[in-house]
Amino acid sequence: MPMPQPDVIVVGGGLHGCSAALHLSMRGVKVLVLEKDHIGRHASGVNAGGVRQLGRHVAEVPLTVASMALWHGIRDLVDDDCGFESHGQVKVAENEAELASCQARADQLRALGFTHEEVVDQAELRRLVPAIAEHCVGALMSRRDGAAIPYRTTFAFKRKAESLGARFLEGVTVGRIVRNGKAWTVETADGARHSAPVLVNCAGAWADRIAAQMGEPVPLEVIAPMLMITARMPPFIKPVVGAAGRTLSFKQFPNGTVLIGGGLLGRAYRDENWTDLDFANVTTNARTVWDLFPIMRGATIVRSWAGIEARMPDEIPVIGPSSTEEGVFHAFGFSAHGFQLGPIVGRITADLITKGGTDLPIDPFRIQRFRQTAAAA
């Protein structure tokens, strides 16, 4: 017996797709999610799990703050604590110049009405992160930040959405999308066709293909951010630590393993679901860890990996309605920092679909910004 036509088809079963499905389902909207592999297979399931407000692009700040409120009540939202632990995030300054720029940043945010980032001095930094190297002079800190378990989070959003009536089809690759009067018909690689009046593009590193079909191509770059994890170590840090002057982040899980990563890249082959690790790049990470945390010299790396992610040239996502077609909405291009935004962006997408607008400022994320750039070029 055929399933009733959904109200919304979401392309992509990562965190953003599952979050959109959840928020829509909470409002009684019938959702069908089409995922080409399995839920949380790519960036959503394999990222560093940072639940971070700290250091975001100014345009993201209102969204990140709203999302953090959801994170602190995540169990109520998805019936699972998602492994969320909040001990703060710090961005360490290794010299006075870096500390000054941390202060400038805190001041800038305060001027905009946001107080979640503050500067801590060397004594406070030592108290928070006793294992930090001696030369570090202070840090920028966001106390309510933390980390969660990415796959578990994505899966929890999916399960909750499903319990509220959302349908998820896995192993189903979206091909051609055709307008049929007021509805969209999505053809999938298994020969099936699915129709709905509204389409949401949460296709991650493949989202440019959906956008192109809508006549609004975007300069999406496919990247493979690399991470590595150690064997268990004696506990020595609670906040998630980054460095102001280097690309680095790391966190120690309750089980003692330490996850190391931060902006260093392997190579992605998105049509093969494959990434190559570049160990010269991993070496770079290793030395940075050394310099900041001497205790890590005894650490053993037991695993390394790289997910397939989308990066936009201005390093902020595409969120909002299509610029060319009615009934199409985008949420992609999170440029290796979309995890924490997952809860709120799904809500924004649901707002746009059910209310025609949202209270959060999403203009900086409009897809038209690339057309303007292209026109200016």
């Binding site: 399995h38 949380g40 399931g45 290794e94 378990i149 990415p150 796959y151 578990r152 899966f155 399960r159 150690t230 064997a231 002057g245 280097r246 690309t247 089980n255 260093l264 494959w274 190559d276 690790l277 160990f279 010269a280 790049n281 991993v282 070496t283 770079t284 290793a286 030395r287 940075t288 860890v289 050394w290 890590m296 010299r297 005894g298 650490a299 053993t300 790396i301 037991v302 695993r303 390394s304 990996w305």
Partner: protein
């Protein structure tokens, strides 16, 4: 390591029979060849310590073992470079090998790579298998070969497969005592193996194998048709609870319990390199997909020996030579016709060495209850995840090993799924009512062996990475 070449024509990984034979053949033809191995001395596992065993009486370990020495001499004379005590943690699709040696790491490029990393014992998950004093029969064999150590006190062997009987025979030859052998070979396997009996009777196994089996059965108490096992004890194994057929449970004391139910290919390096693999229903394990020369789905990477499908030590040797001939061809040192001509005697020897395998594989296929254990059995030793937890996750919709890994941490420990992968796949397949082929396997990534931060930090720098790391 500064005296190493910048790039070898051929890198062979693993100094067991396949690796030794492959490296010997290639080096003798003038191809610059390096043999990398984790152990300090050649021989792999089957010929472990063959150049240095303290067990010098040849009748203890047996003539098959000592054949390994015949491979080492020619290897040493071949001109191949030999790097023992070197751990390979990565092979990239661009044929760069990441290895560590003496606390330092190095990337070693090659023009062709032969993986000869062999096999490991199939996991044997029974309740209590993580107790100290429970180990693999292969482990006991290694202790015998490398150190002349034998189990003492109440010694119980349990399981199925040729290695179990070989170890028992070696123990008897060494004067060690075995209390009981609990044979878990399923009764119905005999019926299924019968059609392959005639080939088996023509094989090399029948003479020695039968003699060995009969001698052990004459001297050791053997209990057949064991259908369940549990290791019990406080802090270490003290007794074994078992059941014969549908019979009542029996308990016997044990200070050491040696488990074995066959060997399976060690696929971690091949998998992490991106080599395609497939589920083999007869051997009931995952096997990298290779052609008749051992070539994998990754250009420039071949696999020889048990790592491409269990065939035993002699078959491994012949496969090693075939892989080397193919490498010579791919490196442009030999045209196809010559390669095929030279391969003929090795193919013939291989066919002879593999004769009878199907019979053994069928007869000794482990019973379902020892592949798909009960809920309270630990399946992931590293993270202490039970079969029941995996089943519960499947009920929630977590449908494959990569997902159960992310969900339960099952497979996230240092062994990288070597001891849990096969079991997790079978538990999921059984719970979902599908074949293991459909369930799939872990997606493994380098480093396939742990590497310290000190080693990683010591990798030689490149210009671009100096720029990337400097504080900005």
């Amino acid at each position: 390591m500064t005296d190493l070449k910048n790039r070898y024509d051929l890198a062979v990984i693993g100094a067991g029979p396949a690796g030794l034979a492959a490296a010997t053949l290639a080096a003798k033809r003038g191809v610059s060849t390096v043999l990398l191995d984790e152990q300090a001395a050649p021989g792999g596992q089957i010929y472990r310590a063959v150049t240095q065993t303290p067990v010098r009486n040849p009748s203890v370990l047996g003539t098959d073992y000592w054949h390994g020495a015949d491979l080492v001499g020619p290897f040493r004379d071949s001109g191949a470079e030999y790097l023992p005590s070197s751990t390979v943690w990565s092979v990239s699709r661009s044929l760069e090998i990441g290895l560590s040696r003496e606390g330092a790491a190095r990337i070693l490029p090659a023009r062709h790579i032969i993986l000869a990393t062999g096999a490991l014992e199939r996991p044997f998950p029974i309740p209590g298998w993580t107790l100290p004093g429970v180990m693999g029969a292969g482990a006991a064999q290694i202790l015998l070969k490398t150190s002349g150590l034998v189990a003492s006190g109440n010694v119980v062997l349990a399981g199925t497969g040729p290695l179990l009987w070989l170890l028992a025979w070696q123990y008897l030859r060494a004067g060690a005592r075995i209390d009981t052998i609990l044979d878990t070979t399923p009764r119905e396997n005999w019926r299924q193996a019968m059609p392959h009996m005639t080939t088996f009777l023509r094989s090399g196994y029948i003479g020695k194998g039968l003699k060995l089996l009969l001698e052990v059965r004459r001297k050791v108490k053997v209990i057949d048709n064991v259908t369940s096992l549990r290791a019990e004890g406080d802090g270490r194994v003290q007794s074994v609870l078992f059941r014969r057929g549908d019979g009542a449970e029996q308990r016997i004391p044990a200070d050491t319990l040696l488990l074995h139910q066959g060997v399976i290919p060690n696929i971690n390096l091949a998998n992490a390199t991106g080599c395609a693999q497939a589920w083999d229903e007869t051997q009931r394990c995952w096997v990298p997909t290779v052609d008749a020369w051992g070539a994998t789905s990754v250009e420039g990477v071949s696999i020889a020996g048990d790592g491409a499908g269990i065939g035993g030590a002699l078959a491994a040797e012949h496969r090693g030579r075939l892989a080397a001939l193919d490498a010579l061809h791919r490196l442009g040192r030999m045209d196809r016709a010559q390669r095929d001509r030279e391969a003929a005697p090795h193919r013939e020897a291989l066919e002879k060495a593999e004769r009878g395998r199907v019979f053994l594989d069928t007869l000794y296929r482990p019973g379902k209850d020892f592949r798909v254990p009960q809920d309270d059995t630990i399946v992931c030793r590293c993270e202490e995840v039970t079969a029941g937890q995996v089943r519960d996750a499947v009920k929630l919709g977590v449908s494959g090993p990569n997902q159960t890994k992310s969900f339960l941490r099952c497979g996230m420990g240092p062994c990288q799924g070597r001891l849990c992968g096969p079991t997790v796949v079978e538990v999921i397949a059984d719970a979902r009512g599908v074949s293991p082929a459909e369930v799939g396997y872990y997606r493994l990534r380098p480093p396939v062996k742990p590497i310290t931060l000190a080693e990683l930090a010591s990798l030689p720098k490149r210009e671009d990475e100096i720029a990337a790391v400097a504080p900005h």
